[in-house]
């Protein structure tokens, strides 16, 4: 049997950080990732933060991947403006939360996980190979067993011969199978989770710069609450990437269970909001009608030609409307000048309309649909994030800071990854993997992380910034409970006392007040109603049907289902008919059945099913994530 020092299960941002750190410390580790390539399974909002807390330290991306990280990594745009919008029909009331976004942070960049994790992987793999380890994609871990007598920990997978390790890092995400195998924690329950659903909207770089009135490297984040929630607890986001936008909705899962609604409907509510409609606006070609009296073969030829032409047009246009790509292609000699690209573009466009009757209209283009559960660190972080010699990190450990507009999972998982790696490196040196020496040491390190503090209690400084940002909100909109909290917090003198008092009450009692229908729906709706600006949209976006969204996704189908329904007639399962983002469940005669082929592995159904990730290389492959 082969032997390695450390196995890392899962190649998301948390697992990769652990691999990079272990390798930097000269320790041998192998990382096993179920996806065909690292990055294809990961999905985020997402803004990647680097933080500088006042007290204590966190491990940031640049600490692990080098100080040149910002220049080398495939980051999208630096978020320089952070806004919260309250919506009611065509009215929007906006608040500037840039100060909250910049609070204790070095930077925040919009990112797309497929590219970013692939980049992390390349860097981590290079370092790992030098220590006799590396990354193995396309491998699904299905069991860990311990032979205590021989002091062996054995990793079993669907694809490879079993092998032996000294310690394990479980970085297998929110639907962690390792957590189930080890029984280190129960499955997360609905109150501990959010469901996130997201669309990637294609928009050329220059148009983004123009629409948002920003420079080529700057970016914006927009959050939404109010009537776009359709009365559910949660909200929406829109982040600018280089030449795409990430538009998504994040909802408390228990609120969705209370009154089930299709996730894509929540996403559509955002896309239909006039403010967003205007932000995603582009020019889109529309095929002309094909003369049905023509020979079938001729019709087919025209259809192919049109498809090819539209593709070419998009390709040239994407280049033309991107300053960096324009320059690059001129430099590499693909084009001689900007004028050449421009004339090629208009030539193609002319051909499209004159030869094939293609017209152009105002609309938007969606490129990818996705969804994933998000663990709410306040409610589900593992208090003891280990079992024997297995340490849990990132989403698998239920860690993330989600408070109001603060959305941080990536940076938290990366910090965890480094801490786990440090703990294991220390254990390797003493060859001591006992719970006391390894598990407890890691727990202590995690407890010291400023992020853990943010999961346990309210940060009064952050709260102050937030309250300052909302100073224009008429106070009479708030209920008695809310105004009391607000009043206490707004006064500098009593704020710190009040925060202390509130923290004594604990998050558990406070959260129902903060994360309530009042905060997500009522107050913002009324605020927009009363003080919002009217925005009218210049067109009606053609939002794709769910079937079309699914058809655009890329899967490696597996004949065997990775999910088994346990109770076909229980209530939870019946609600999944609505709540599964790709409609894998259907009900007939009171019995729920699954068709796993369209599954995007979000985990929404995992609590009450026998849920595994698909075998290596199988299942969904996101292009953006």
């Amino acid at each position: 049997m082969e032997k390695y020092d450390v196995a890392i299960i899962g190649g998301g941002s948390a697992g990769l950080a652990a691999l990079k750190q272990l390798s930097t410390l000269g320790k041998q580790a192998v990382l096993l990732e179920a996806g065909k390539k690292v990055g294809v399974k990961n999905i985020s909002g997402g803004i990647l933060y680097s933080k500088k807390p006042n007290k204590g330290r966190v491990y940031n991306v640049e600490d692990i991947y080098g100080q040149n990280f910002v220049n080398e990594a495939p980051l999208q745009r630096k978020i320089t403006k952070y806004l919260l919008h309250a919506t009611s029909k065509d009215k929007v009331f906006s608040m500037d939360l840039t100060a909250a976004h910049e609070y204790q942070s070095n930077f925040g960049y919009s990112v797309l996980m497929n590219d970013l994790n692939a980049w992390f992987a390349q860097s981590a793999d290079e370092s790992a190979q030098k220590c006799g380890g590396g990354i193995v994609p396309g491998v699904h871990v299905n069991n860990i067993s311990w032979d205590d007598e021989k002091e062996r920990t054995i990793i079993q997978t669907d694809e490879l011969d079993e092998f032996q390790v000294k310690a394990v890092i479980a970085a297998d995400g929110v639907n962690s199978e390792v957590a189930q195998i080890t029984r280190a924690r129960p499955k997360f329950s609905a109150v501990q989770l959010y469901q996130g659903v997201k669309a990637i909207v294609k928009l050329p770089e220059d148009i983004i710069n123009e629409t948002f009135a920003i420079g080529a490297d700057d970016g914006e984040a927009h959050l939404f609450a109010g009537d776009i929630t359709l009365n559910h607890l949660g909200g929406g986001f829109l982040y600018t990437n280089r030449d795409t936008l990430s538009v998504g909705a994040v909802y408390h899962f228990d609120s969705l269970l209370d009154s089930p609604i299709e996730p894509n409907t929540l996403l559509d509510a955002l896309l239909k909001n006039p403010m967003i409609t205007e932000l995603i606006k582009d020019e889109v070609p529309v095929r002309g009608k094909i003369d049905k009296t023509l020979e079938k073969e001729k019709q087919m030829q025209i259809r192919f030609a049109v498809t090819k032409l539209i593709k070419t047009w998009y390709e040239i246009r994407d280049v033309y409307l991107s300053s960096s790509r324009r320059k690059e292609l001129i430099k590499t000699g693909k084009f001689n000048s900007e004028d050449e690209i421009k004339s090629k573009l208009s030539e193609t466009r002319e051909k499209m309309s004159s030869q094939y009757g293609i017209q152009f209209k105002t609309d938007y283009v969606e490129d990818e649909y996705g969804a994933k559960l998000i663990p709410d660190g306040k409610r589900c972080r593992m208090k003891k994030p280990y079992h024997k010699n297995v340490l849990f990190v990132g989403d698998a450990a239920g860690r993330g800071v989600f408070v109001g507009p603060r959305i941080e999972g990536l940076n938290v998982g990366i910090d965890d990854g480094v801490r786990a790696a440090n703990a294991i490196a220390r254990a390797l040196e003493k060859n001591n993997f006992s719970q006391g020496y390894l598990g407890e040491y890691y727990t202590k390190s995690i407890e010291e992380s400023p992020y853990t503090k943010d999961m346990k209690e309210i940060d009064k400084e952050y709260l102050k910034i937030f309250i300052d940002a909302t100073k224009d909100v008429p106070k009479d909109i708030l209920s008695a409970k809310h105004s009391l909290v607000l009043k206490l917090m707004s006064s500098g003198a009593i704020r710190s006392m009040a925060a202390k008092f509130v923290n004594v009450l604990g998050y558990e009692r406070l959260l129902p007040v903060i994360e309530s229908e009042e905060s997500y729906v009522k107050v913002p709706t009324e605020l927009a109603e009363r003080s919002g600006k009217t925005i009218s949209s210049s067109y009606t976006p053609s939002i794709p049907l769910l079937a079309d969204r699914i058809a655009k996704l890329n899967y490696n189908d597996d004949k065997v289902s990775h999910i088994k329904v346990l109770n076909p007639n229980n209530d939870f399962m019946k609600k999944l008919v609505m709540l599964c983002p790709t409609k894998c469940y259907s009900e007939e005669n009171g019995q729920v059945t699954i068709q796993h082929e369209g599954c995007i592995e979000c985990g929404t159904c995992s609590e009450q099913t026998d849920w595994k990730h698909p075998r290596g290389e199988k299942g969904i492959n996101y292009r953006y994530g």
Partner: protein
């Protein structure tokens, strides 16, 4: 133990994949318009060689006889197998070669390669009308043990033997898998159903490593490429090209082009009645195939 020394012979072929192939009005292949690529069977041979690279850290040389632009076939093969060396035998005199004359060129090239060759790989056949003789004839000229239809193999480095599984298909008899052990050097032609199977973590790590290296090398493939004309290769002029070909292509049959008979009907995926119809149609079509 000596590291394994491997060679792969590959061929530039017309790209028969959709959208790349072009026919003349009479139905014959329009070679000028059709793109060229590494032949699919050659690709499989390169994949088989890569297995030994991953598993035993073998050194791989890839060679081809063809026009100067056949270097793209070598580049593609390098991307598949992380070849260390690429050889292209290119000269006007080689034109018009039949399989025997081609075998002579390739044999001479392989013998010129550095070190004693342990295994030579070739595809099962070419996809543009070749009869699968180049491989066996090259083996014969090299004097290597020939093993055909290989679907998997392993090398015993100590005994210096190869153990290969070969697929035997005979009309009317179920397929037979034959296992053959032979001392090196050997010549293997690789069956289209060949699969590399990596079962350990270390193999998979090596696989990833060499694959990355292959990608990098293929990007700069000219650095590994050496082109030989007839004099540089030093092959006997009477044994290669048209002069060295005892057989000649006498006539090329037209590729019969079927008249399009497809009549599309539109079905609505959300309508269960329509779905039922589709299933019925598929069943009908399938049963027809079986009877034929």
């Amino acid at each position: 133990m000596e590291p394994l020394n491997l060679a792969v012979i590959v061929k530039l072929e017309p790209d028969f994949s959709e959208g790349n192939v072009s026919y003349k009005p009479d139905g014959t292949l329009n070679r000028n318009e059709t793109k060229s690529t590494l032949g699919p069977h050659s690709g499989i041979a390169a994949k088989a060689a890569f297995y030994a690279k991953v598993k035993y850290g073998a050194k791989i040389s890839v060679c081809s006889m063809g026009p100067p632009w056949a270097d793209i076939a070598l580049q593609q093969a390098q991307q598949t197998c992380d070849a260390d060396v690429l050889h292209l035998y290119s000269d006007r005199i080689f034109a018009g070669a039949d399989t025997l004359a081609t075998a002579e060129t390739l044999k001479t090239g392989i013998e010129k390669m550095q070190g004693k060759m342990d295994i030579v790989f070739s595809g099962h056949r070419a996809s543009d009308g070749e009869t699968g003789q180049t491989g066996p004839q090259t083996a014969w000229k090299l004097g290597f043990t020939f093993i055909g239809n290989v679907i998997s193999y392993d090398v015993n480095l100590e005994k210096r033997t190869v153990v290969a599984k070969c697929l035997l298909t005979l009309n009317g008899v179920p397929n037979v898998i034959e296992e053959i052990e032979a001392p090196l050097p050997v010549f293997l032609t690789i069956d289209p159903s060949y699969k590399s199977n990596f079962t350990t973590v270390s193999q998979r790590i090596a696989f990833e490593k060499y694959q990355k290296e292959a990608y990098e090398r293929a990007r700069n493939f000219k650095q590994s490429l050496k082109v030989f004309n007839i004099d540089e290769l030093g092959v006997d002029k009477t044994l290669v090209g048209l002069a060295g070909s005892p057989t000649i292509v006498y006539q090329v049959e037209r590729i019969p082009k079927g008249k399009a008979t497809r009549q599309a009907e539109v079905f609505d995926g959300s309508n269960s009645e329509h779905i039922r119809k589709v299933v019925a149609k598929m069943r009908e079509a399938l049963s027809a195939m079986v009877i034929k």
